[in-house]
């Protein structure tokens, strides 16, 4: 009857989302009066895995054979389904991101479950099982009931928060034979430079209002001042014009982000862009047009020319950081 969570790691370290997911799994396990099992796939040390116990995880399954060293959605889906069967799981939770979107639907079909992706809270009830998710590209919420015995959920980034509940560390090795894969990886290209917009806590984002690519230096300066967890983002037109790389494009067909703070500089606020930022905690808009729709979606606004405002903002941020 337990709750299973699929943790994710990078370079031997558990990603922050794994702790948020453990907190989420723990909340659901309380509602069901049952336990939390975490599954880790890949090379992560026992010492690192043990951290999960701080967030309510009763048992950690460690799948670390060479066949699972590199991400392969089909292999991972099979392993997760096998773990779920072995532990008699009733609810399985994932983070909602590119990797899990390749895995969770397959797990759902393997286990004949019901899957709700994009959840924003713990279930409002477990019998019937009802949970709220985001819909209409962030413009609405939907309350969804799962009618299958096995429930599968994916949680939106930063939707739940982290809560501690110290358990004793209990790690078990887990293995699952793989099947032949029909796809072959030819090449892998990693993005160089600062962290992904998906992981940043502060985003300094620019639109066409910046007039030319060189002006993005002002945003790069701001992100430098704001620190290692801040990075630059942009709108679709800016990426299409090749002023900034496509990996920075935030919006409906780009990345959907969830930072604590989002600066929208020279961005008018088209619906397709807003669809990418509705999960931001705080939004600041800087625009010359007082009627820009972006202001309606923002918490703080500055009417002015980005090229004049940004240097002043950067100065104020620098002074703040120096005195902090």
């Amino acid at each position: 009857m337990s709750v299973l969570l699929y943790t994710e790691n990078w370079d031997g370290k558990l990603k922050k989302l794994s702790f948020e997911l453990a907190s989420y799994a723990q909340a659901i396990a309380s509602q069901l009066s049952t336990e939390v099992v975490a599954l880790s796939i890949g090379e992560v040390s026992d010492e690192e895995l043990g951290k999960l116990a701080t967030y309510g995880v009763d048992k950690i399954l460690n799948l670390n054979t060479s066949e699972y060293k590199d991400f392969n959605a089909q292999h991972y889906a099979k392993a997760i389904a096998e773990a779920a069967k072995k532990e008699q799981i009733t609810v399985c939770v994932f983070a909602n991101n590119i990797s899990t979107r390749a895995i969770a639907p397959r797990v759902t079909v393997k286990l004949d479950g019901g899957f709700v992706s994009g959840c924003v809270a713990a279930p409002e009830s477990v019998d019937p099982f009802i949970v709220t998710k985001k819909a209409y590209s962030g413009k609405a919420f939907a309350r969804v009931q799962i009618n299958k015995d096995l429930k599968i959920l994916s949680l939106n980034q930063n939707a739940f928060g982290i809560t501690e509940n110290e358990k004793s560390i209990n790690i078990e090795t887990f293995d699952c034979p793989i099947e032949e894969s029909a796809s072959k990886i030819l090449d892998v290209k990693k993005n160089t430079g600062k962290m992904s917009v998906l992981d940043a806590e502060i985003l300094v984002s620019g639109g066409r209002g910046l007039k030319k690519p060189e002006n993005f230096k002002l945003l790069e300066d701001a992100s430098e001042i704001l620190g290692a967890t801040a990075t630059v983002a942009c709108t679709k037109p800016v990426a299409d014009l090749e002023w900034r790389p496509h990996s920075e494009h935030v919006g409906q067909t780009g990345k959907v982000v969830a930072p604590n703070l989002y600066f929208a500089v020279g961005i008018s606020g088209a619906i397709q862009h807003l669809a990418g930022i509705t999960s931001s905690k705080v939004i600041v808009s800087i625009n010359t047009d007082k009627d820009a729709p972006m202001f309606e979606a923002s918490d703080y606004g500055v009417i002015g020319d980005a090229m004049e405002v940004m240097p002043k903002l950067n100065e104020a941020l620098k002074a703040f950081k120096e005195n902090a």
Binding site: A102, S285, K312, A316
Partner: protein, 246 residues
């Protein structure tokens, strides 16, 4: 080469949305419906490939009669024929089951979906179809070449890109980048679309795994606090003391 492109019939993103029937159902009145933007790009790429290398493209949607104009648009863009599975697309697992049935009965080499539909943003159907049929799948595809019996794709992964080769049959879900921009149907395409075959098939029995009970709109955002452009230290103070984000 037989390609199936699964499209969703969805409301235009810029629409002001509302719900009826105790907020259970989307209010379609006065709304413009379109091919989902992710599928539209994927269909565009499929058409480019067909025009260069030959083959056939079938556009499919799971939906009621109201979705036929959207299928006709896919035909106008360049799909050769269309299939409508006569059922309301209320649950992803059900939709995937219907699509898998069509694939089984028609021997498609490549099944294409969009990264996600813009109404429920689930992104589940493509992978579910692949699992039901026990065939490979690749999601987040932003570059695609199709050869005689295999696909060479680029997919987005955590922190970068992967180039993959995969034999047929497979399912792939396309996103931004798979085509530079959606193909706009020319007048000739629109005329021909009326004469291309659009077949309706009945769904197979499957009970919905999930059910939407109700929709809610987000709480109205509080008014934006305006800060004078000359006073950036005030903005910084607010972000630190009031918003507590720096």
């Amino acid at each position: 080469m037989k390609i199936l492109v699964c499209i969703s019939h969805v409301p235009d993103t810029t629409a002001k949305i509302s719900f009826v029937d105790d907020n259970k159902i989307y209010n379609k009145e006065g709304q413009q419906f379109i091919i989902g933007p992710n599928e539209e790009l994927a269909l565009t790429r499929a058409i480019n490939i067909k025009e260069a290398n030959g083959g056939s493209i079938t556009a499919l949607t799971v939906g009621l009669t109201e979705t036929e104009p959207t299928l006709r648009k896919a035909l106008a863009m360049g799909a050769d024929d269309a299939i409508r599975v006569n059922a309301e697309p209320k649950d992803a697992y059900n939709v995937a089951t219907q699509i898998a049935e069509v694939v089984k009965n028609n021997n498609f080499d490549v099944v294409i979906t969009g990264r996600e539909s813009i109404d429920y943003n689930g992104g589940q159907v493509g992978e579910m179809v692949a699992e039901i049929l026990n065939i490979p799948s690749v999601s987040g595809v932003n570059d695609l070449e199709l050869e005689e019996n295999k696909a060479i794709l680029q997919r987005e992964i955590d922190g970068g890109f992967e180039k993959i080769e995969c034999v047929f049959p497979l399912v792939l879900s396309g996103q931004k980048g798979i085509a530079a921009e959606p193909k706009i149907p020319a007048m000739r395409g629109i005329m021909m679309a009326r004469r291309k075959p659009l077949n309706v098939v009945e769904p197979i029995d499957f009970s919905d795994a999930t059910e939407v009970l109700e929709h809610n709109l987000p709480d109205a955002k509080a008014a934006c606090t305006m800060v004078d452009a000359e006073d950036m230290s005030e903005l910084v103070r607010l972000l630190h003391e009031e918003a507590k984000v720096i």
